[in-house]
Each structure stands twice: as C-alpha cells, then as structure tokens.
Symmetry: C2
Subunit: 378 residues, 2 copies
C-alpha cells in the first residue's frame, strides 16, 4: 500500500541481484543507504534526513530480504512487501543494532562473503566503529558487492521511467511559469525560493536540489547558493532543479535572458542546444558514454576540460554513468541519463544546458521537453 | 563573502579542534561529510545532493585546513576563508582524489594519527575501496577522531544560535498560516506541498524535511509520506518541519484539530505541553540529557518505551545528544536541543509535540514560540 510499485517490481530486482550474487560468490549483500534500501523494498520516507539512526537491509543469496531497522520505522516498513522486519530501539549507545545485524547475517549467510557497496558513488551509512564491530561479531568475511547494486540501478524498469517522466513534466510546467517570478529587479535568492514554490504547486513532493546562477552573458559557477543581487537587463538566469515525485528525480535546467539577450548569450544558448541535439543523436543502445560525451564536446569545445557533460539519473540526482571521456559504459535500453553541455561565454562566465532522456530500443526519447535554440526572454 | 560567518568564527572552531587533537595525539582530522566540512570552512552548497564526487577537508594539528576537492567546487570554496585548495577533475574513475588526498595527508601529518569521525551519527562519505587506497597510499595510521568534531558541534556559538532562532521564526510564521492551507476536505499530500510553500514564502532557503500525519485523535506514525486521504472533522493534523536558512535547521512541529477536537485529543495535547514545560524546567546547565528525558517521560508515561524525547539540533536536523534514559550528556551553555514528547492517544495512535530551545547560563530560552495547551482548531 505505501510502496510506490507493486511487490513484483521489487521481487524482480531481488532476483536479478541474487543471480549475480551467486555468480560472484556472495552469500548476502548488506545495504545501508536510502536509495539502495528503497530500491529493494519501496521504503520511502524523508526520515533519512536525520543521521541519528542506522538502517540495514540484508539481501541473502536466496530467499527474501530482511530489514534490520530502528523500531520507529517498523510500521512504515510493515506496509512494504518486506515481511521479515527485525527492530531495535535506536538510538542505543551501547549496541546500536550491531548485535542484531551480526546475528541476522550469521543466520542468512551459510556460504560466501558479505558484499557491501564500496565502489564509485557509494558510501557506508553507519559509523565505522560499528561496522568493525559487525564484522567482528558476525565472524563473516566482508568485501565489495562487485558493483551489483549500482549496475542494476543503472537500468530502469518501465515503471521507473514513468516516474521520472512524471516529475520531468512537473518541472516542465514550473519552468513554463518562470516569467511569473523572475524579471528585472528580483533578487536571485527570491527567484530560488519562488521557483521551489512553483515546483511544489505543480506537483513535486519535495525539492531536494535547486541550483542556478545569474549574470551578464552567463554565470560564474553552477553550485553556489543564490545571493540577494537583483536581476538586471542582459542577465542570463539559469535554474537547475532536482525535484522529486514518488522518490524519483528529474534533473534539468533552463536558461532565460532578462529583458534582452546579447549576441554572446544567444550564440551560447544556440550552441548548447546544438550540442544537446548532437548528444541525443549519439545516445543509442550500444554507444559508449564517452561517445555521447565526444559528440557534445566537439561542439562546445574545451576538450578534456569540458568535464562531465551528463550522467545517469533516477532515485538520486546523479547516479550511474558519467558522460566523460573516460567512462566507456555501454548504453542499454532503459538507462535514463542527462545531457548537460556547458560552454564558456566570457572570461569566467559559462552557460549550461541540461535535458533528460531515456535510451529505448529504437533510439533515445526525451523525458524533459527539449528546449528551443532561441533563449527565452523574461 | 559567500560564507555565512566571518573567518574568525571558523578559525575559533579550528583552534578548538586543534587543542583537542594535540591532547589526543592526532596529527590531523580528515572530514568527508557536508556538515563537518561546512563547520570548519563555511562551504555551503546544495551540490552535496549529488553522490558522484567525494569532498575532503584536512584539519592538521597546527596550521590552516586544506581543502582537497573536485575542481567544480574551487570557485565557491575560494570565496570562503580557506586558501589552500587542491583540486582534481572529478569524477576520475582511475584515481578519484585518492593520490591527491594521500599526498596532502603525508605532507600535513608529521606526527600522530589521522582521525576520522567514526562514532555515533557519523559516516564516511567516500567509497570504502578508495578509503582503503588512501590509507595504503598515505602510509599513515587512521583512527577515530575521539568524537572531537561531534563534541565541538554540540555547543553552538552565539552566531549559530542566531541562525537557528531565525529559521525557527520563519517556521513559526508558516505554522501561523496553516489555517490558509489545511481544513476539512484537503488531502494530506496537498497540505504537505502547501506547507513547504509557506515555509519558502516566509524565508526558508529550502525544506529538507517535512513529516507529519493526520487521523482521528492522532496518527499512526510520524515518518510516513503523506497519502491522498482528505482531512475529515475530528482529525488531528501534525506538521513537523526541518526548514533551513543559511544552512541551519529548525526542527519542531504543531498539532491542529480539524473542525473540532475530541476530549482525547484535547487531553493528549495538554499533556504534551505539560511534558514539554517539565522538560523545559529541567533543561539547565549541568543537568543530564537523561534528566530532561525523565521529566517528560514521567508525564507522558511509557517508561523506557517512551523512546527518544528530543535531541540536539543545528547544521543537521538531528545531531549530538539524545533525550533518552541512556544518554547522560551534561547540558552546557550554547547547546540547542529539541523537546519532543509523544503520547499514546488510542490503539495505534499517538500525538507528538516538539519545541526548540537553547541552554543559556541562567536557564533555557525558547527558540520556537511555545505552543499553548489548547490545541488550535482549523
């Protein structure tokens, strides 16, 4: 009832993981982070914002996953498809789930090692001292999960693609209303607040990410908080959002020219759209991430210095592959990625554009509404 | 310019850490998480939402901290007080900052171990395989940080208290407007969206946390996402928010009765306020966290089963001490905590109330506007 998808969706994910675990000699995979645990359970809550309690899911090489969680989460986990839920009263300074997790692992792992996501983009969401205690108390051998969870998560099911498409549509409606909130004289910080409001009005559950910038012909970087400087004519305003609906992200941006656009701004925007189109044409099953990067880098220039020009997307704002010269991941049907070229527009200023697409058997399909080459005026 | 506080604030924090590091025989502390790095630098960005890049700060036993970060963050870090900023072009699959971090540690640590936050509420925000590589490449010995960073962060400076008070005031204004958005017939999911909108309108930079519930005489749990069931007369609506301004959280809630309140609802609310007042009277310099818990637990009942009835608050929604029977942390001037009693109002229903306070030399001071005993009607 409370999960986003029917049990069959999660069961299929577990089965896919278990096939790979058996090949890799893993007796179980131990998960500690929000997206990894949600991927196999459907457990969706904003309570992860609190760092005070660790949460564990054990996916054994055969049989159903077991949740080892603080008792405060039992009711909600009980409304997912998971039936074996073991709880302790966290926070418990002397033993914060350590003994319960270790005994659960001992029970479930008769053969093989315990795999823990340990590679790119992963982290262990529990105190290191407690992790050492779990390892010692279980008597088992721990190793990385061979990238099994990250690899599975890279390819989205049709149900997942639908969720990402839905939140892309929400953001699209909010972007269409930017003229209501942003114009000459409005401080960027106010634009940021109001744009989050528009996203909520259009149906976002929450807005974990909003970045952007504003300046003449471009902006200095794309990760700084908004200042209180008002927009002035000739500014390029960029808003880049990771909004969430049902636990899935969109991640794309739009640029706007305030009152009027300089030729440099117009040219920069047109080049970004040209690069995005080139990336789109390349983003087909069998192409490498680096091929898509190359198609865009050839247009925006900068060579290696162009950096990352897109990435995977789904339960996290960024996940999976990177569109760089060095990531040779082969595109597969069901991968959802962003195309995110950037171009220098002056000394210390840049413009960035971003769209979201899904790789399908017969080619890529836009999930965000592709922007036109002409930068819109506000 | 871009940091929230003047350099002297951050320098004082570094000095305090270094005094403790010398006592503990640590040659440096290695930090990897958003709040820990921000605590010593002022580096504030929502870009942490992306898990794709690791970020490092090394605080040596003497001298200034050194940031070892992806080049995409160089411009923003350059606007903090940190001057030694070393970057690499992340993500770099072959060596994602490992060599740069290891060499930086070797350079800065002439004597002593490298402390890494490893205790309660901590995690290491980098892949475990890369952490092992850094340890090997540096040739240094790694250990926990003896709780130095968590202990320092527990006691807020006056400037920090001002920030928390400011965001508490923002939430107070939003709570005062709940009657505009919530009444009979409105789905809870819509109330959640609209309340986030109110928080933004009242000045929140963003809303990392919103929880709550609604039901006759109370709600089933306090961490579930909102469903689409409309509010009906007799429902108790609870909204609990962690809104952020300038990187500091509030964390408190309000209960409302929809159209009318049953006697059980009225009694439950009055008892929660009574318990909160009892906690407030106990929350003085020198008292233990467990003393404050006891004062509230004696009123709401449940004994040990009452669970955690409050916690520290600041750069994270929850941080530092816990108001439980087992946490005997001594309250100090400058600690900011929540008082969060809960009471059972029926079979499977509860009500929870929460306020935010700062411990001052002559007693506690409310940061959130203390609620009245009578539950408000909407």
């Amino acid at each position: 009832m409370s999960a986003v998808f029917p049990p069959s969706e999660y069961q299929a994910r577990v089965s896919a993981a278990q096939a790979r675990m058996n090949d890799a000699g893993l007796g179980a995979i131990l998960l500690t982070t929000e997206p990894d645990i949600r991927y196999f359970t459907g457990y969706l809550t904003r309570f992860w914002e609190s760092p005070s309690r660790p949460w564990f899911l054990v996916v054994p090489a055969s049989g159903a996953p077991v949740a080892v969680i603080p008792s405060i989460g039992a009711a909600l986990m009980g409304r997912t498809w998971i039936s074996d839920i073991r709880t302790w009263s966290a926070p418990e300074p002397a033993d914060d789930g350590v003994t319960l997790l270790a005994s659960t692992l001992r029970e479930l792992v008769s053969d093989g090692k315990v795999g823990v996501p340990s590679g790119y983009e992963s982290h262990l969401r529990m105190p290191l001292t407690d992790y050492d205690r779990v390892k010692a108390a279980s008597g088992l051998t721990f190793t990385d999960d061979r990238g099994i969870v990250a690899t599975l998560r890279m390819v989205k099911s049709p149900a997942e693609v639908d969720k990402i498409e839905a939140v892309c549509a929400i953001a699209g409606r909010a972007f269409g209303r930017v003229g209501e909130i942003a114009h000459e004289g409005v401080p960027l910080s106010q634009v940021f607040r109001d744009f989050q409001r528009l996203l909520l009005e259009e149906g976002a559950d929450w807005v974990p990410y909003l970045a952007g910038g504003a300046g003449q012909d471009g902006y200095g970087d794309v990760i700084s908080p908004a200042g209180d400087t008002p927009l002035v004519p000739g500014d390029v305003l960029m808003l880049d959002t990771g909004a969430v609906r049902d636990g899935y992200f969109c991640d794309y941006d739009r640029n706007y020219a305030v009152s009027h656009a300089s030729q440099a701004t117009k040219d920069g925007h047109a080049r970004l759209i040209e690069a995005t189109q080139a990336g789109l044409e390349t983003a087909r099953v069998g192409a490498r991430a680096s091929d898509v990067w190359r198609a865009m880098a050839d247009i925006v220039g900068g060579g290696e210095g162009a950096g990352r020009l897109g990435h995977g997307l789904g339960m996290q704002l960024t996940e999976g592959l990177s569109l760089t010269s060095k990531d040779h991941t082969i595109l597969q049907e069901g991968m959802v990625i962003t195309l995110e070229p950037g171009v220098e527009t002056g000394d210390g200023t840049l413009m960035v554009h971003e769209e979201n697409i899904v790789i399908e058997a017969d080619g890529p399909r836009m999930l965000s509404p592709m922007a036109a080459a002409d930068i819109p005026l506000i």
